[in-house]
């Protein structure tokens, strides 16, 4: 890996890692991050960013909160 020409080499490595990330399933993600399920992962920052762009494009639009996406998880957290 060190012998690769830097910029092109980086692109190739990033492409491989991107493909691996896309191939990861929910259980694998949860396992890698040490949580019981993916819904336990804090996605607030990325969700807020996506919501901001959607709502800027269409003020009437409403991006679902984490609660909307997984009410059972939130109920569990509340309990």
């Amino acid at each position: 890996m060190r012998g690769r020409r830097s910029d092109r080499g980086l692109e190739q490595i990033l492409d491989v890692l991107a493909a691996e990330l896309l191939a990861a399933d929910e259980a694998e993600i949860a396992d890698a991050l040490g949580v019981p399920s993916a819904s336990h992962i804090d996605t607030a920052d990325v969700a807020a960013l996506v919501a901001q762009v959607i709502e800027a494009a269409d003020p009437a639009a409403r991006f679902p909160t984490q609660h909307d996406r997984d009410p059972t998880t939130n109920a569990r957290k509340r309990n």
Partner: protein
């Protein structure tokens, strides 16, 4: 014209609907892809910039979501393209002169050398290498996949059993996920 506008609106609505359906796992992947594509970018450009721009372009309809392509994969491709654009822009703004004499570093058709890009790419590659430095099998698999070798070719080249290859690939994926969620510093 109306047809084009209408198709564009439909595309934007499709993208917005797909974004609103993103699961927690897909949001994790989206962030990981954004952080990945931010590696080696000009200073001051971060993962949030890439993701913001990718979502905005998709909603504007300047990037259309092809049928049967998942939204996360689509946005990953858009971010890849935006990352390349950042470098093209940085090169233009800086007025970098190509070192055309250094033909050894580039194959025919490659872009001219950009010292800043090269330095940042070396830094990013070094970070990624450091992430897997204690796992030689993962480095072999990563290197082989980057060279577009098949799994069988990688196994033969490095003398890996099918089991060792699969296990290394799984470790590669897990380490990348942890790193790109910020749990492991490279």
């Amino acid at each position: 014209m109306q047809g084009i506008a209408s198709r564009s609106e439909e595309t934007s609505a499709d993208v917005a609907a797909a974004l609103c359906r993103l699961s927690a796992a897909e949001l994790v992947k989206l962030k990981a892809l954004a952080r990945l594509r931010a590696q080696g970018l000009p200073r001051g450009v971060g993962w949030t910039d890439l993701l913001h721009e990718a979502v905005a372009r998709s909603l504007e309809g300047s990037r259309r979501l092809p049928p049967n392509v998942q939204i996360v994969a689509f946005l990953g491709g858009v971010m890849r393209s935006i990352a390349s654009e950042h470098w093209r822009r940085a090169r233009t703004e800086a007025g970098v002169l190509a070192d055309l004499d250094d033909s050894s570093a580039f194959a025919a058709g490659d872009p001219p050398k950009d010292p800043e890009r090269t330095a940042l790419a070396i830094q990013a590659l070094s970070s990624i290498h450091g992430l897997f430095a204690r796992d030689p099998d993962v480095l072999k698999v990563l290197s082989g996949l980057a060279d577009e070798l098949t799994g069988e070719e990688i196994r033969q080249m490095y003398g890996l059993s099918a089991q060792a290859y699969e296990a290394a690939r799984k470790r590669l994926r897990r380490a990348a996920l942890r790193w790109l969620q910020g749990n492991d510093a490279p």
